[in-house]
Symmetry: C2
């Protein structure tokens, strides 16, 4: 019998708490809405409540600690959630300490995209590699970078902001206020924006017949049904992702890219254009040095990574077994 | 009394061999021309000869090993020099093994820009940092990346090719055949190319009065004398370097950039525009998280780094002292 960690993923819209074994198995999950609009105090109370609900599914003595995946930027050393764009009103909230006091367990905190990368690396699509880059494409674009089997966190825990790699100097406006970042070219809202523009230009597409505001999901659904404009929109987003990958190949020489997040549900409709663009934009030396695969842990990547953080911090939980 | 390493830097035009202490002091240097046009066999013979000349300056029993800095790409694990653009005719040359057989000493091989980064990190301008990025700007642009005090080499030793970061999709042609790479925007030949273009456009500059093909050195000299066009040319190159730095900040969250190479002799004429552009192009969170300083080891960075490779491989040379 192994040890267990409680892992919590605090997102802008949902909180997810899970009981996870040291082999990365998710044995129980509870969820709740974040209600971020109620502010940090209410959200922290909800996180504590949900963590307790997950703990109730497990003998207390089985639990070696709590791992928290929080929206970036975070300060992992001091356990602070800094100023995440999707948690309004949060600023240097000592989430790790607040949870430790409430739960009387050691708590480790990390950036959600970094922890998803760690989860995919140890127990998902990156297993067996030493050098891996995870890219998540959904409302935004985030990522995590594994070098020599370790997360690259940087001097202040702020590394691996792959969504804010500039690709086109005067490109579309990004959520951060700069232009031409990967996030502004490939995230869900940018695919939706390009779809609306295509409809406005009068391109022949089933998207023009929908009577609600277009979303990236609509584009993926239309593309799956063979709509050529929708396919082209996904290919363009994938090409931008591939150009970003080419750049990352020159810097990190990874063996593998693992792509997750809601938009990646489009599968090869976005990954194949990404592969093609990545191979086209690297120096010949690199052309066959990496592969591009879909993530395999789905929405659990963050909690699995948060559990890895706990187990590796306590030395694989050797002391406490159940 | 410390131990010594012999370190050799094999460049496209010069070979440099040095005796270096475990404290990073360069106690003796010998140099020769590479004569790369004579092919790998002749160059390897010259490297062996020069290494022996350096060893003659030192008691044999002081020497713990030989470190070699070679132009990239190299395969450090197998000790191979692959297909370096500035050593024509070289392909998978087993330089480490050839030197080991000739010198009867253990030999370690690394990419020259990576080793220069290691040298600057351990004994130069990067000392004391845990996360540092070295950029060298001369005929080409290269670099080395330190994360958690270790070089990022990637899966095959091919990481940190900062010269081939694409910055402008349809920008000027790079030596590698792609467009808009940092090297094509900021290396010496690109500064010279822009200077010629400025003269051809009839811009008012002392560069127009020179009666030889313009070089980056001419631009630096004119800028130092206050020539406004030359200053503008260096500022543009520096701005491209700064944009590349901004991208690297988002990925690595480094504490420091160390800039070396011949073009960096322009000092703040190129570093100050780079600093400004880097701060302008990063997200606000990062604005005060890094500094940009000149390299401090000059042409010795590569040999010092190659010696570090030796000392750290043999466990700081504890066994053999002099």
């Amino acid at each position: 019998m192994g040890t267990h960690a409680i892992a919590v993923d605090v997102g802008g819209t949902h909180i997810r708490a899970a009981v996870i074994t040291s082999e990365g198995h998710v044995v129980h999950v509870v969820r709740d809405k974040t209600h971020a609009e109620e502010g940090p105090r209410a959200v922290v109370a909800r996180v504590i409540h949900l963590t307790r609900a997950a703990m109730a599914e497990c003998e207390r003595q089985q639990v070696v600690g709590v791992g928290v995946a929080a929206p970036g930027p975070v300060d992992p050393d001091r356990g602070l959630v800094m100023y995440p764009p999707n948690l309004p009103g949060w600023g240097e909230i000592p989430l790790a300490r607040l949870l430790e006091e409430a739960l009387e367990l050691p708590v480790w905190l990390g950036n959600d995209a970094n922890l998803a990368a760690l989860g995919e690396h140890r127990f998902g699509a990156g297993r067996g590699t030493a050098h891996m880059i995870y890219i998540t494409i959904s409302t935004g674009v985030g990522g995590g970078i594994i070098v020599n089997r370790r997360l690259v966190t940087g001097a202040l825990g702020l590394a691996a902001e792959v969504g804010h790699m500039p690709l086109i100097p005067e490109g579309p406006l990004c959520s951060c206020g700069h232009r031409g970042h990967l996030e502004a070219l490939a995230a869900g809202p940018s695919i939706a924006r390009e779809a609306r523009a295509a409809v406005e230009r009068g391109w022949e597409t089933a998207l023009a017949t929908l009577d609600h505001p277009l979303s990236a999901e609509d584009v993926v659904a239309a593309a799956r049904a063979g709509d050529r404009v929708a396919l082209e929109l996904l290919a363009r987003a994938g090409t931008h992702v591939g150009r970003a990958m080419a750049l990352l190949v020159h810097l990190f020489n990874p063996e593998r890219f693992v792509v997750g997040g809601g938009v990646s549900n489009a599968g090869d409709l976005i990954l194949e254009p990404a592969r093609r663009a990545a191979r086209r934009h690297v120096l010949p030396t690199y052309r066959h040095t990496f592969d591009v695969v879909p993530a395999s842990l789905g929405d659990n990547a963050g909690v699995v990574g948060a559990a890895v953080l706990v187990f590796e911090a306590v030395g694989a939980g050797g002391a406490v077994t159940c």
